[in-house]
């Protein structure tokens, strides 16, 4: 196997009838590949261009030095087939070369970015770029969805634990509150902490809600900017139908006298509920006369 026999030797062996099948292997002749280095150099010299760099724009860079761990994990011949690592190496190499050449381009006065008002045909059409963008967005959305689903699944796993904890927490809070109430009753405390907190929060919430609703309504019925400006300039000659009736806003703005009037007028419509009375004020008991009037009115109603 190891030694290669010449043809003559083989012929002699065949004549002696020593050759048996399986003992000899046919070896393919060694191919010699053409590699005429000197000629290649001459050819290169012949057709090489002697032009400035700006005409040619060529760069050469070293490949990025692989980190030691990476190199150990997979040597070069393996990393060729690892798409992600290969492309990353390419990217780094190109980036290094571009960073190297950018100052040179600046010196020569060549820009890498066109100004925003420079319109020209692009290599890829707008339609194609739109498709690319759509695909990117779709991918992002699907990623988000899958992540959400993952989180939900996780949450479901630990849901029971969480619920137990929440119940414990609630029980604790309740216990604490009861203790405080006890102390308050005994006179050890002059104010209840949690009550104060609650009141504050309520107030804040109310004002906030009110404001937001009002602004929302305003925005809903606002005309566009152009129309607003025109209205300011020429006066708004449109609808007068509902200008005299009150709105929630005008009601808030009313002077005390006006509001009193409103209350009286509402009394003429017994079907309507009176406006909600503020909690802070005590409801005054009507006078004797009025109470009697009310009584009669109610009786009449029943008869009817």
């Amino acid at each position: 196997m190891e030694s290669i026999d010449s043809d003559e030797e083989l012929q002699q062996a065949f004549a002696k009838d020593v050759l048996k099948p399986g003992l000899n292997l046919e070896v393919a002749p060694k191919k010699e590949f053409i590699n005429r280095k000197n000629d290649m150099k001459a050819v290169l010299e012949k057709f090489k261009q002697n032009l400035d760099w700006i005409e040619r724009l060529d760069l050469t860079t070293k490949p990025p030095a692989p980190e030691e761990e990476e190199e150990k994990a997979s040597p070069e011949d393996k990393s060729v087939h690892d798409d992600f690592r290969r492309e990353l190496a390419f990217y780094k190499q190109v980036q290094a070369s571009v960073l190297q050449v950018l100052p040179k381009l600046n010196r020569l006065g060549i820009q890498t970015r066109r100004p925003d008002d420079y319109f020209a045909e692009m290599a890829k059409s707008d339609r194609h770029m739109k498709r690319i963008r759509e695909k990117l967005i779709a991918k992002e959305i699907s990623m988000e969805k899958s992540e959400k689903a993952k989180k939900l699944r996780q949450a479901r796993k630990f849901g029971k634990q969480v619920q137990v904890e929440v119940l414990k927490k609630r029980a604790q809070e309740k216990k604490k509150m009861l203790e405080e109430v006890k102390k308050y009753r005994k006179g050890q405390k002059d104010k209840l902490d949690f009550m104060v907190d609650l009141e504050d929060e309520e107030k804040k919430n109310k004002t906030r809600r009110h404001q937001t609703k009002a602004t929302q309504k305003k925005e809903q019925f606002m005309p566009n900017k152009k129309r607003q400006h025109k209205n300011e300039r020429f006066g708004f000659g449109g609808q007068k139908k509902r200008s005299k009736s009150n709105t929630a806003e005008s009601f808030d703005k009313m002077t005390p006298v006006e509001s009193m009037m409103m209350k009286q007028s509402s009394r003429r419509h017994p079907g309507k509920k009176p406006a909600a009375v503020k909690k802070g004020k005590k409801q005054q008991r009507p006078g004797k006369n009025r109470r009697l009037q009310n009584k009669f009115r109610n009786k009449n109603k029943r008869r009817i």
Binding site: M40, L44, Q49, L57, P63, V98, K124
Partner: protein
């Protein structure tokens, strides 16, 4: 000779003159009849003919169109019908006034070869094109101006061996857009990248998106496996043969052989096993059984 040709010849002559005297000193007085000598900025006149043989696959055609779109100095030509003799390509290039050519050759409706050639003087190189991704693919998200000049970034290995050096020069002359080409744009916003890995040339095209050199890939992508380098244009004496190259036909043959011998191997393994198998597991003394007594328990069991 037609009028146009004469005019063209005259033009080229005048251009050559300008090349030789790069700095033209204008005389102080010019007669009104003769026009003043112009200083053309467009010196590097490369014209590349990009075309193919008949029977190329759709993807290869798209790749070809991408090349045409990215190279403003390219010209197009209908698909060629000749199958064997590529010397016609030289003539076609000459008639189209091109001095370089990218020629795609399709074989068996499967394989794509690319010829890069310096017309007439040579050299030329033949590659097998593998792993093609065109610019149409949606995962390549970058974009650049049509006709802007590319930077040509090369791997360090291109300067090590003479055959890589020749290929590098060919790439520079063919893929580089000449400065001040009338169809080109005055910005440089993308990079052609040539790398050598696994004895092949990997082509990538990135757009430069900002000053910090963050890049996005535009495409196309392909891998060139060099086959041969010739001294002439699309033929002539061979300068270099790639020892690592395996033709796709050979590769497919090997694959087929591997599958074909799978069954044979299994059968022969079975036969070999039968042959090697001993009839007895090990030698037993026949007299061992003499003193074995049969108890009542054994009888019940049986």
């Amino acid at each position: 000779m037609g009028k146009r040709k004469i005019a063209r010849a005259k033009k080229s002559e005048s251009l050559e003159e300008e090349k030789t005297e790069n700095v033209v000193v204008l005389p102080s007085v010019i007669s009104s009849d003769e026009p003043p000598a112009k200083r053309t900025k467009w010196i590097n006149k490369q014209r590349v003919l990009v075309f193919s043989t008949r029977g190329i696959l759709a993807q290869a055609r798209h790749l070809m169109n991408d090349m045409k779109r990215l190279m403003p100095h390219s010209k197009r030509e209908p698909k060629m019908d000749h199958k064997d003799d590529f010397r016609v390509v030289n003539e076609i290039c000459e008639t189209r006034n091109c001095n370089k050519c990218i020629f795609f050759e399709a074989r068996k409706k499967k394989d794509l070869y690319m010829w890069l050639s310096n017309i007439n003087e040579g050299p030329s190189a033949k590659f097998l094109v593998e792993n093609v991704h065109t610019m149409c693919e949606l995962k390549l998200t970058g974009n650049c101006l049509k006709g802007s000049r590319p930077l040509l970034s090369f791997d360090e290995k291109f300067d090590k061996e003479p055959h890589w050096k020749i290929l590098k020069e060919l790439f520079i002359q063919i893929f580089g857009t000449p400065n001040h080409h009338p169809k080109s744009q005055p910005f440089i916003d993308h990079v052609f990248f040539f790398s050598i890995l696994d004895n092949r040339i990997w082509f990538r095209n990135y757009s430069i998106t900002d000053e910090l050199a963050s890049l996005t890939e535009i495409g196309p992508r392909f891998v060139l496996n060099p086959v041969r380098i010739f001294e002439g244009s699309l033929g002539g004496p061979t300068l270099y043969v790639n020892p690592h190259y395996q033709s796709p036909n050979e590769y497919r043959k090997l694959l087929r052989k591997k599958y074909a011998t799978k069954y044979m191997g299994r059968v022969s393994a079975k036969i070999g096993h039968e042959e090697r198998k001993l009839k007895e597991s090990y030698k037993l003394d026949q007299t061992n059984d003499v003193f074995v007594t049969v108890g009542p328990g054994d009888v019940e069991e049986s």
